[in-house]
Symmetry: C2
Subunit: 518 residues, 2 copies
């Protein structure tokens, strides 16, 4: 069989059976092999940033890697911003990038570029297949590298000739390795810290924010009196009514410093000490008090559940964790201020929903409003790279087709990768997108004041933060991508639109028109 | 003054007075300085690929660099595909990328990434400003590097602290250097080759495809009997009625080999020997006959005009070059096959228009149909990286606001960077976009056959090449971006829409709905 077929069979045999792609000429053999190898679902995207972001969303929910298939250096480059987010999310991802045939490389053809150099910036593992005999083994190695805990980006670069030449067949893939354990010493040190009085905080990141790990962390916090918080950004959190409800380190550096000010001992569970998204003149980067003690129970990629079970035993934390109560607030009405919008979303979240959040300046208001909403998963932007949310929702919906996906987007962020809507329509995915439409990069106005001692932007600076000339018409944009859409200007309209959109199969978009509140 | 102000003043003093941007927090000081430094036009884009592609289009027409301002590694990554095209176009471009403050770097904040590694893949010059005292000098060095002939991408990475700390002021920029001359030996060798009988071809690239260089090449070809051709891809060509009309090396490898088959001597003027865009099983990469002699009159970045003047003298090429006659074909009518569409475009091109072409499978039909159209400039995709055309048109219109810009786009390509439309609306640019709407990646069907011995794609492969489920509605998409739009299904409708769109100021989009011709 040809190299491309061996590659594809190795992927499918290794449990990688979804591929988000926008292929080109150098990937035609892979495309052709799809008709000879059953079991691979190839999902077409109109832009590579959608493919990589969808692979991230898929992996966050499926807990196994999807593949991408990207066209040469420029195709990879278009996918890098969301690979950056995927890297920060710690997800497994097999990133396949086509390359010119080796005989063609010396001629510096127009599309030639330094693919390896680009890939290294976002990949834990990069390999270019040297000859067709190596392609199946390289694919198996890429899958193994992607599955390294907590999950990594493995980039396999495939020169066109190794996909069209003949080889022996697929290669076996190694089984998923067990999670590394935390040391007993780390557990006893954490227990000791938690017994030593007030001022302890347990900080959860990575896979400690859902399932059994979150439950155990809730018990331990309750038994020890420690505060319990999640990191600012994380891959996935289970939250809402009936779940353990950790706090969250605020995005704003000033607020985060206040939030952490009383912390004497920070116990890390799959997390690292909180640092600011950005540095600001005269502000610290590390947000905990300088004299706070930092203890690592588990690093990202270690077995949080095992360590937390052990810690709970040591502390005698047998009791049930306090769980978030359902908050049934009166359904909001009237014009959509940001606060009303957030409350309406919270009221409309259906049970078992998956939320992706890229509302930026709308993010924390929505987070706080939805603490007691129906139980749901929350998927934020992990690496701060904009254009993540809509692709993330697309991949999450592919991974879990039976759950409603609610994609919360700021208008500025949504404009980065709006092509995701087309893939949602094509695949009939159950994604309802809400555009927080405030006609501005509101976050930049806040950031301007943070970097300019509280001053307001002048006319030139201000015009770079406004999206009102012209105003994006998201109903029109969604329809252009084949997604039904409508506009909501009141809480009543938004609630009613959300309810019906989430009842109907397939994607929908609602433009929530926020009234100016300044 | 602060570092950002010194940077900005150095740019403006150095003749770089347009900046295409999507800034973030780490670039806020640059944004703030716009209100203190007059003379910089900051053009906001919704996506960084629009910014870099617009800077390319600007430089192709203005023949001087624009700046970009991009947000950290992910912002740069989003701009890389069009920086790749700009690199292949040989344009000058000052690519400014924000970075975290040096004190913030050790903390591996969420947005931290290897900016230098990403930048090297597309830049001839990369520098990170080490301290605020260096920022003005580094900016001057970046401008000088960008202006190296033929034009280069210079990436200046500016840690946030060097933009907010105090420095002495702007730095002087060096004057534009003169073009390097071709050697006398190169000129006499070319003259000798052109005197030695049949089978000579003069191949024009870079800045030899417009102005005095093109005229001289026409005279020399006429006097010597040599064939005259341009390369497949180039930054800019002047063509149409009244202009010297070189042929063009076809994109298809099989056609290009036939086109070049009789070539015994190839004389390069700002070009390199033609190679295939891709390698194919059993096909050569180099497209000229293996025994053809290759002579370099001028390399890209050398003085083509001076060398061609000298060559014309040696050959006694005093006569006027034959010029393209106006071709006034009967205006087409009826349904829009690709051929009818191409003829209608040709008939509607206004005098002195700038055309950008990213119609891919529609490109050569449009090229051939428009040989005798009104005189115009033709700007193709240089590096094969898709998503170039609409940003290119945006930048060309900023550079030459008084000329009509006609942006010819395939539907698949247009979907990459459709955000360019919003910037066109915001800036009131005279760009008329025509979408060649065939609901397919038609080029991939052709490429599939080229790599698969003529076989048609199977069902799985075929579905990755069709854009008809759902069909993109380009009228809706354009209106969503604030650009007036309409649909044309016949030649009459298209001609009439084109004529009125180009009469009215500001942008317009026409979806030309191509009937299936298979």
């Amino acid at each position: 069989m040809r190299g491309a077929e061996a590659l594809l069979r190795t992927l499918v045999d290794g449990g990688v059976d979804v591929c988000f792609t926008n292929p080109g000429t150098s990937e035609m053999q892979f495309v052709s092999a799809l008709d000879r190898v059953p079991g691979m679902r190839a999902v077409l995207t109109l832009f590579e940033g959608v493919a990589t972001g969808a692979a991230d969303g898929y992996a966050r929910m499926a807990e196994r890697p999807a593949a991408t298939l990207l066209h040469l250096g420029p195709g990879l480059a278009n996918g890098i911003a969301n690979l950056h987010n995927a890297r920060r999310a710690g997800v497994p991802l097999v990133n396949i990038v086509g390359e010119h045939a080796v005989t063609h490389m010396p001629f510096d053809a127009p599309l030639a570029s330094d693919i390896t150099g680009l890939a290294r910036a976002v990949s834990a593992w990069v390999r270019t297949t040297a000859h067709v005999g190596a392609i199946a083994g390289d694919t198996a190695a890429a899958i193994a590298a992607a599955r390294q805990h907590p999950g990594q980006i493995a980039t396999l670069i495939t020169p066109a000739n190794v996909t069209w030449e003949e080889c022996d067949g697929p290669a076996p893939t190694s089984p998923v390795t067990t999670l590394p354990r935390a040391s007993d010493r780390a557990v006893t040190a954490a227990a000791e810290a938690l017994r030593s009085g007030e001022g302890s905080m347990i900080l959860l990141g990575e896979k400690a924010l859902y399932g059994r790990a979150l439950e155990l962390a809730g018990k331990i916090a309750a038994a020890s009196g420690a505060r319990l918080s999640g990191t600012t950004a994380f891959a996935r959190q289970e939250r809402g009514a009936g779940r353990v409800a950790p706090a969250r380190v605020p995005y704003s550096v000033a607020e985060a410093i206040r939030f952490l000010a009383t912390t004497r001992r920070l116990i890390l569970v799959g997390s690292t000490p909180p640092v600011g998204f950005f540095g600001y003149p005269g502000m610290p980067s590390l947000l905990i008090p300088p004299d706070a003690q930092v203890l690592t129970l588990t690093r990202p990629g270690e077995d949080h559940i095992e360590a937390l079970e052990h810690l709970a035993d040591l502390l005698g934390a047998k009791g049930a964790a306090p769980l978030q109560e359902a908050v049934v607030a009166p359904r909001p009405s009237g014009s959509l201020t940001l606060q009303v919008l957030a409350q309406t979303i919270a009221a409309a979240i259906p049970a078992n929903a998956i939320l992706t959040d890229e509302t930026v300046s709308g993010s924390f208001p929505t987070w706080y409003a939805s603490v007691g909403a129906q139980p749901h998963d929350w998927l934020p932007v992990t690496g701060g790279s904009i254009g993540n949310g809509m692709p993330l929702a697309t991949g999450a919906a592919v991974a879990q087709p039976d759950r409603p996906v609610l994609c919360l987007e700021a208008d500025g962020s949504a404009a980065y990768t709006l092509q995701a809507l087309w893939t949602q329509a094509r695949e009939g995915l159950n994604v309802t997108t809400v555009i927080y439409h405030n006609r501005a990069y509101r976050i930049l106005e806040l950031e301007y004041r943070a970097t300019e001692s509280g001053a307001d932007p002048g006319p030139q600076a201000g015009q770079l933060m406004r999206l009102d000339n012209p105003t994006l018409d998201w109903v029109s944009l969604a329809r252009g991508m084949g997604v039904p859409a409508n506009r909501a200007t009141t809480a009543e309209e938004l609630y009613s639109s959300l309810s019906s959109a989430m009842r109907e199969p397939g994607p929908h978009l609602i433009e929530a028109y926020i009234v100016e509140s300044r």
